[in-house]
């Protein structure tokens, strides 16, 4: 599978709850290990990157160094708008941005939040940054919103280009759309769980992205895969043992192991289904049994994700 390492912009997408942020951060770590100056952009207004690295929560819209060449930013619509206005219209732009009426206008325009968000992600990935003092990144990893919203966000630039027809927003919309369609520049990493609904959504995502903006999935990651510890004969011997064992601790252990085995088998079916229907070989990330997701676990996941870069 051709790697994603040479792309400049990756979107990490998937159903709510599958672990997009975790995968985005782990991918960031893997990229930074290769010496790439990388930034993980959280598009939903959280700041999980900072907390995983034990950093204080930064100002929304600020680029924060997490570790070495890895950075993070929690995207903020207001900041993105102010930056855009300043770049377009200097001091007058600042005045416009400060006006309450304009603020109401931005809030009232449907799709504007999405345009500003994807526009900021685009800006982060440019060689020549628009933001004063902004430095170039080798790779931007955008932790996208849940599937439906992510698809809408990626289609917004083109929508505005078509509605506006001429003028700065039309132009900006076309430029961003062209970047999103450029497979050498932009990639999408789909994250799923080995369960029916997330797999269904992954396939929906694949079809929708092909349709517009016309992107193929660059990689498929299936998160939280249980270990498969028992072969079929071993599982059969566990079942037999369960029937004849009365000692309570042993019984509990047998039942528990068997239950995990059944779940792992159901998961296996879903992994095979997504591989077959998406036409891609997924990277399987292990189920993490620890109490909370910390830096150490992210590093382990980064090990597993090396291969897709």
């Amino acid at each position: 599978m051709p790697g994603l390492a040479d792309k400049r912009l990756l979107f990490v997408a998937g159903k709510g709850g599958v672990g997009r942020t975790t995968v985005a951060l782990a991918l960031g770590i893997a990229a930074a290990r290769r010496g790439k100056r990388t930034i993980v952009a959280e598009m939903g207004g959280q700041a999980l990157g900072a907390s995983a690295f034990g950093r204080a929560r930064a100002r929304p819209g600020a680029e924060v160094a997490l570790d070495g060449t890895l950075h993070a930013i929690s995207l903020d619509v207001r900041t993105a708008m102010d930056e855009y206005l300043h770049a377009r219209a200097g001091r007058l732009g600042d005045l416009l941005g400060a006006s309450r009426a304009f603020g109401a206008f931005v809030a009232a325009t449907p799709g504007m939040r999405e345009l500003l968000t994807v526009g900021k992600v685009w800006e982060l990935a440019q060689d020549a940054r628009r933001v004063e003092g902004g430095e170039r990144y080798d790779l931007v990893i955008a932790d996208a919103p849940a599937t439906g919203h992510a698809i809408a966000t990626l289609r917004t630039p083109r929508t505005f280009a078509e509605i506006a027809r001429v003028g700065p927003i039309a132009h900006q919309g076309r430029t961003i759309d062209a970047t999103l369609r450029d497979a050498a520049f932009t990639g999408v990493v789909a994250v799923s769980l080995p369960e029916e609904m997330p797999v269904n959504e992954t396939l929906v995502l694949q079809r929708a992205l092909r349709d517009a903006p016309g992107l193929e999935l660059g990689a498929l990651v299936v998160n939280a895969c249980l270990p498969r510890r028992l072969g079929p004969r071993q599982a059969a011997s566990v079942r037999r043992a369960l029937e004849r064992t009365s000692e309570s601790v042993a019984h509990a252990a047998l039942r528990s192991a068997l239950s995990e085995h059944v779940r792992a088998s159901v998961q296996r079916e879903q992994v095979e289904r997504v591989a077959a229907e998406a036409g891609m070989t997924p990277v399987e990330l292990p189920y993490l049994f620890g109490p909370a997701l910390e830096r150490e676990e992210l590093e382990r996941l980064a090990d597993a994700l090396e291969g897709i870069l």
Partner: protein, 372 residues
């Protein structure tokens, strides 16, 4: 343990709230199924169901109204259906179009809005539209009668609170005086913006483009004509959410993040003086040992269960991991229960081994929820 039926006694509307990925849609369907089995006429309004769940509920036919669900598959799975279950998937765009149609003062205005390019392309992106239309639909169904209970599956949101804020945000969007003033520079507008209103508009045009600004102005002017009706609708929606016959049910899984979201949602409900009827925690890892410590299991497995050393090793490793999950989940659930307090019943659903999205799966889930 209290079952769902007790929690929903005398309720007419139940809103299932929680973050994405906790099993809200499946749980909404199972709750509706259980109440219908007990003799009520129930409608479940779902968002984005999986294809098989949609099939189980008979939702492959599109339409923005509830359709009767065939009880036969559920009866075959062992559940007697004494009442009636209906289901629908919310079509946000269509619901919004219907809303516009009802609120437009005349046919011409309605047509202009529906034809407006901004509306056509972006009505789905109007902030809060998904959440608002969901409740507006439930309100409409509640008004029309015909159902004893309405179950609303809320849209997936990283921030489950979006749902509560949507009516107000949307109403403000329609009402914004500052916005309308910006679009009418003469008179009131000029006074509001001060000198430089012309410059502001010029600048706005420079920043956005003339066509877009014009379409946007038309869009906003047209929609602001609907403000009165919209405010009324928003007030009715809010009243429905506040009604004592409306209950909120939190749905979560035993992990830190969804629990955090659930508690934040609960705080917001309290602020808004809305009733939290209960909490459902899905996918709770359990085992026969419960919270007891396991000790050294491997020798027991060889001695008592007669397993080979290799298999005993694997089983012991599996149990070590799974048991750690059981204890983690128990701790998280206890923390949640503590935070919710005695007044909010908590229902735990164990991690189930099989797929839940067909009729038999829903019946199995319902058994855990209703204590059947």
């Amino acid at each position: 343990m209290t079952g769902v039926a007790e929690l929903l006694r005398d309720r007419r509307v139940v809103v299932m709230a929680g973050s994405g990925g906790v099993g809200k849609t499946t749980t909404s369907a199972a709750v509706a199924l259980g109440m219908a089995a007990r003799g009520l006429r129930v409608a479940v309004v779902t968002i984005d169901p999986a294809q098989r769940l949609a099939d189980a509920l008979g939702l492959d036919a599109l339409g923005n109204e509830p359709r009767r669900v065939d009880p036969a598959p559920f009866e075959r799975a062992g559940l007697r259906m004494q009442g009636e279950l209906s289901a629908m998937t919310l079509d946000v765009k269509r619901t919004f179009d219907d809303l516009i149609a009802r609120l437009a003062p005349d046919e011409r205005t309605r047509e202009q809005i529906l034809a407006n390019r901004i509306y056509r392309e972006l009505s789905g992106a109007i902030a809060g539209s998904q959440e608002f239309t969901a409740v507006a639909k439930v309100h409409e169904l509640a008004q029309e009668g015909g159902f004893d209970l309405l179950v609303l599956d809320t849209p997936p949101a990283r921030n489950a609170l979006d749902f509560l804020d949507a009516p107000e945000r949307l109403a403000s969007f329609f009402e914004s005086r500052a916005l309308r003033a910006l679009l009418r520079p003469a008179g009131t507008g000029a006074r509001l913006l001060g000198r430089g209103a012309g410059m502001m508009l010029g600048l706005l045009g420079r920043v956005t483009g003339a066509d877009l600004l014009r379409d946007l102005s038309d869009f906003l002017r047209l929609l602001s004509g609907l403000v009165g009706g919209f405010r009324e609708r928003a007030a009715a929606v809010e009243a429905l959410l506040r009604d004592p016959a409306t209950s909120f049910m939190l749905v979560t899984s035993p992990e830190r993040e969804p629990i955090g979201e659930a508690l934040a949602f609960r705080a917001r409900l309290e602020q808004a003086r809305m009733a939290l009827g209960g909490a459902i925690v899905n996918r709770v890892h359990t085992d026969e040992l419960g919270e007891r410590e396991a000790g050294d299991v491997e020798p027991l497995l060889v001695a008592e269960a007669g397993l080979s050393a290799a298999v005993a090793g694997q089983v012991a490793a599996a149990f070590a991991d799974e048991h750690a999950l059981t204890r983690r989940d128990a701790a998280n659930v206890a923390q949640l229960a503590g935070a919710l307090g005695a007044g909010v019943p908590l229902i735990e659903v164990p991690q189930l081994d099989e797929d839940l999205h067909d009729a038999a799966g829903l019946v199995a889930l319902h058994a855990h929820l209703f204590g059947a």
